[in-house]
């Protein structure tokens, strides 16, 4: 553990870089998944193609995606942009489905009630549907955030400086504590970000069930 105390500065600066590199894909992923998930929910024709293609994108191994994106987008292989775009694609692939399921889990009566009260579609989406879909979307966001943080470490292979550096450097120098510190640090920040999301969700969505009944409508919809 002396390695950790002697290299605390390195770990802290890599953690900050790691968080910075993960935050953008998580936020971008959510912003892209919302309209895509809505399209998949709203238009039956769009549902299949959107959900299937996001499933297929999720299937592509990370290292392969890093190699396929640059020639497609004209970016450099060894670039942060490559990492950010690849992680954003995975985040979108995870969240599109939960957005579509979340919107689909809303009781149609609630939607009809909003229409009956004179809500136009745009307003109904923002003030009725999105708040009700929020808790399920949050569940998807949490999965996407945690996987993004752990996947970002692979970025070190395409030149991104983040906690993954502790793995490659630790292997080359054969320092076990360094690699262990990297694994633990990634898990800790994933846990912390997850907690932050849960707390933010409770504050922003006080109507969300704290311990949803196992057979809550949302879950039944997701399980089907």
């Amino acid at each position: 553990m002396t390695w950790v105390s002697n290299n605390l500065d390195l770990i802290v600066s890599l953690t900050v870089a790691h968080l910075r590199q993960s935050a953008l894909p998580i936020i971008l992923g959510l912003l892209l998944a919302l309209p895509l998930g809505w399209l998949a929910f709203r238009f039956r024709r769009a549902r299949g193609p959107i959900l299937v293609s996001s499933g297929l994108l999720y299937t592509v191994p990370s290292l392969a995606l890093f190699a396929i994106l640059p020639p497609l987008l004209g970016i450099s292989f060894l670039s942060i942009a490559n990492l950010i775009i690849a992680l954003t694609i995975y985040a979108v692939a995870i969240m599109v489905r939960s957005v579509a399921d979340a919107l689909g889990s809303i009781d149609p009566d609630v939607r009809s009630a909003a229409v009956a009260m004179g809500y136009r579609p745009w307003r109904s989406f923002w003030s009725v549907e999105l708040p009700l879909a929020g808790p399920v979307i949050l569940a998807g966001l949490r999965v996407a955030a945690v996987s993004t943080i752990s996947l970002a470490t692979v970025g070190v292979l395409i030149g991104a400086e983040n906690l993954g550096y502790l793995f490659t450097n630790g292997l080359q120098r054969r320092i076990v504590p360094e690699v262990l510190a990297g694994v633990v640090a990634v898990m800790v920040i994933a846990l912390v970000i997850d907690l932050v999301l849960v707390i933010a969700g409770r504050m922003l969505m006080p109507w969300a069930p704290r311990r949803p009944d196992r057979k809550s409508k949302a879950e039944r919809a997701m399980a089907s």
């Binding site: 999720y58 392969a64 995870i94 939960s98 945690v146 993954g164 793995f167 690699v179 949803p212």
Partner: protein, 250 residues
């Protein structure tokens, strides 16, 4: 686009059949590590998952495990195990890593498969005088099979991706071409290797999607047919909310 042509030229060049790392051998290694690891993981996770699903005990632990699994950086874990077990035991270290990564998905598939069964069906079995073992063998296993296969599908995909990364510690497989091509700036080789591993992943995903369909017993409710690995994940997500904050997520 030109690069893609070069990558395909690289993939289908006769040179791929010779040399120190022929392509068929790399595909073979990749598949070998994937199937061995998933098989070992299934031997561990399926009985455990069935136990959890049948008795309902230890469910919180299984959910927490599935959650923690996603937060573990697989690349870091493989490097760590290679260092700890020694470079001479690379294949062992790699297989242990892959098994650890595959267990949570298969476990989740096994117990959620049993949990997804309508209680009335099980009660009906009991009412007709079936023993616990008969209920398990004749009702729970067949009806839970599609979700179990879905869990194995996601485990296979995760392992395929991690075997690719394991090339960094010198394990071979299709990731070798990508990892080795980076310092040499051989982009046709990098992209060729990437396309090969992507195609492998897509084919395996397709095979398991088909198996999932075949696993639905005749007469079973259509609902289970639609289930996919992604939906299991979402189920877990809901479960995690329920049990927060005991475990880390993902």
């Amino acid at each position: 686009m030109n690069l893609f042509a070069e990558a395909f030229a690289w993939l289908f060049s006769p040179d791929r059949l010779t040399g120190s790392h022929p392509l068929p051998a790399a595909i073979g290694e990749h598949l070998f590590y994937t199937f061995v690891s998933v098989a070992i993981a299934a031997l561990i996770a399926v009985p455990l998952g069935y136990l959890v699903g049948h008795t309902g005990k230890g469910r919180d632990l299984a959910v927490a495990l599935a959650g923690a699994g996603r937060a573990v950086p697989s690349f870091g874990l493989i490097v760590l195990l290679v260092l700890v077990l020694g470079v001479t035991h690379k294949p062992l270290a790699a297989v242990i890593t892959f098994v650890l990564l595959a267990v949570p998905s298969i476990l989740a598939g096994a117990y959620s498969g049993l949990e997804s069964i309508d209680r009335a069906v099980i009660d009906a079995g009991r009412a007709t005088g079936m023993t616990e073992w008969q209920i398990f063998r004749r009702i729970e296993v067949p009806l839970g099979l599609p979700l179990l296969v879905a869990g194995m599908r996601s485990a296979v995909l995760q392992v395929v991706a991690t075997v690719t990364l394991a090339a960094y510690v010198g394990l071979g497989g299709l990731g070798y071409y990508i990892i080795q091509g980076v310092p040499l700036r051989r982009y046709d080789q990098i992209l060729g290797g990437a396309l090969a591993v992507t195609i492998l992943a897509l084919v395996l995903d397709g095979v398991f999607a088909l198996l999932e369909r075949l696993a639905v017993p005749p007469g079973a409710p259509r609902q289970s047919r639609k289930s996919s690995r992604r939906e299991i994940q979402t189920r877990e997500e809901m479960e995690q909310i329920e049990h927060y904050p005991v475990e880390q997520s993902n």
